[in-house]
Amino acid sequence: MAENEWKPKIIAFVCNWCTYAGADLAGTSRLKYDVNVRVIKLPCTGRIDPLFIIKAFEQGADGVLVSGCHPGDCHYTSGNYHARRRWIVFSELLRFFGIPEDRVQFAWVSAAEGAKWATLVNEVVAKVRQLGPFTAYRELETTEVLS
């Protein structure tokens, strides 16, 4: 890989109980996956406000990954069920506003799915790499007001 090649910035919002442990397992299992992902751990997917995703894009993320416990396995019984409804609605809104679908990926990764986490990250990075840097969003800051 060339030294000056563009490296996509992916922010992953994961839940403490499943996906974070899954990512941990990927690490202890010595699985290799793309290094472009920055993991942010939260108590539950239900804690992830859609604004976090907006904020990530504002701060320069090229892609966002959201992952938590499989439905039915939530540490808090129903946090991920609520999150699922929220993401269904939110992803449609983002799509409607013209944010490419491949920039935001939702997933369920359990504590036992270290391999799934590694593949998932690789997939997301590959998709975002194909889309290129999310300059469209960052340009919002610099564009002049149009009518």
Partner: protein
């Protein structure tokens, strides 16, 4: 209809059934109306009813200074009355503390507002006193036509469309103030530790604000269109609201503002909600 309205309002105040009547009064010219707050029976002659009665007066029901006014009556069109349903479900008001004076409505605005073309509540579904004849509902088949039209384009086109629209936003928050369901005492845009949404009106902050405004109304918006009407920059806010209404209807089979007993879609869930989105 006006006489009937005034008569009923007078009666409510005279009998002490309500302390306050919120209705429409004459505005600064014949094509305008303004909200009036009536406490004395003799003032009920100030009430008017015509096609310029745009405002959704249910917005005032959650005002703290009016909450202490005792029992209130509010003049509602069918669309406005839907907000009563949501406000009750969200425990903002008690159904018993509000007398809904429902007006039969053939549509407001000149030319007629877009929402009125698909109105299925020309006779309010939620009301205590109905004024005027019962009108048949209109078909809602083409309600989401403008949403479909925008979706016919690709993501880049939609991005450009909304970028242009939101770039005009001046962050006056009139959309929020006019909305009967935007009642938070501290809105997320006013929170500054941390600052979630940039306060200046540049396109980046405007985008975040408009995403949040729309999203907070998902499964709640009753489609009164007040946000769009009051927008000084003519941003088609209802388009985003309608998109969310469409998603909620398709995914969760829920329409806001009709059934007072149905659980709120964004505060409930079903174990078999769609998993299509998730890897």
């Amino acid at each position: 209809m006006i006489e009937e309205l005034r008569h009923k309002a007078r009666e409510l105040l005279e009998k002490g059934q309500v302390e306050l009547v919120i209705g429409y009064g004459a505005g600064s010219d014949p094509t305008r109306t303004m909200p009036v707050f009536i406490r004395r029976p003799e003032d009920c002659d100030h009430l008017v009813w015509n096609k310029y009665c745009y405002n959704n007066l249910t917005s005032y029901l959650t005002w703290p200074e009016l909450k202490t006014a005792g029992k209130r009556a509010v003049v509602c069109k069918g669309c406005d009355a839907k907000a009563i349903v949501v406000l009750c479900k969200e425990n903002r008001i008690e159904r018993e503390e509000v007398v809904v004076i429902g007006m039969s409505c053939e549509g407001v605005g000149e030319p007629l507002f877009g929402k009125c073309e698909f109105c299925d509540v020309r006779t309010p579904k939620t009301c205590d006193i109905q004024i005027g004849a019962t009108l048949p509902p209109l078909s809602k088949d083409n309600l989401f036509e403008d949403v479909r039209q925008l979706e016919a384009g690709n993501a880049a086109e939609r991005w450009e469309f909304w970028r242009r629209q939101f770039s005009r936003c001046i962050k006056c928050y009139a959309c929020r103030q006019a909305c009967p369901l935007c009642y938070c005492t501290q809105c997320i845009v006013e929170r500054n530790q941390p600052q979630w949404i940039a306060t200046s009106s540049h396109p980046k902050g405007n985008f975040a604000w408009n995403v949040v405004r729309a999203l907070h109304l998902a499964g709640r918006c009753i489609g009164c269109g007040e946000c769009e009407r009051v927008c000084p920059s003519n941003i088609p806010l209802m388009l985003a609201n309608k998109k969310l209404a469409q998603v909620v209807k398709e995914q969760f089979g829920y329409e806001s503002g009709y059934d007072i007993d149905e659980p709120l879609p964004m505060a409930s869930f079903m174990p078999d909600d769609s998993d299509e989105l998730f890897k």
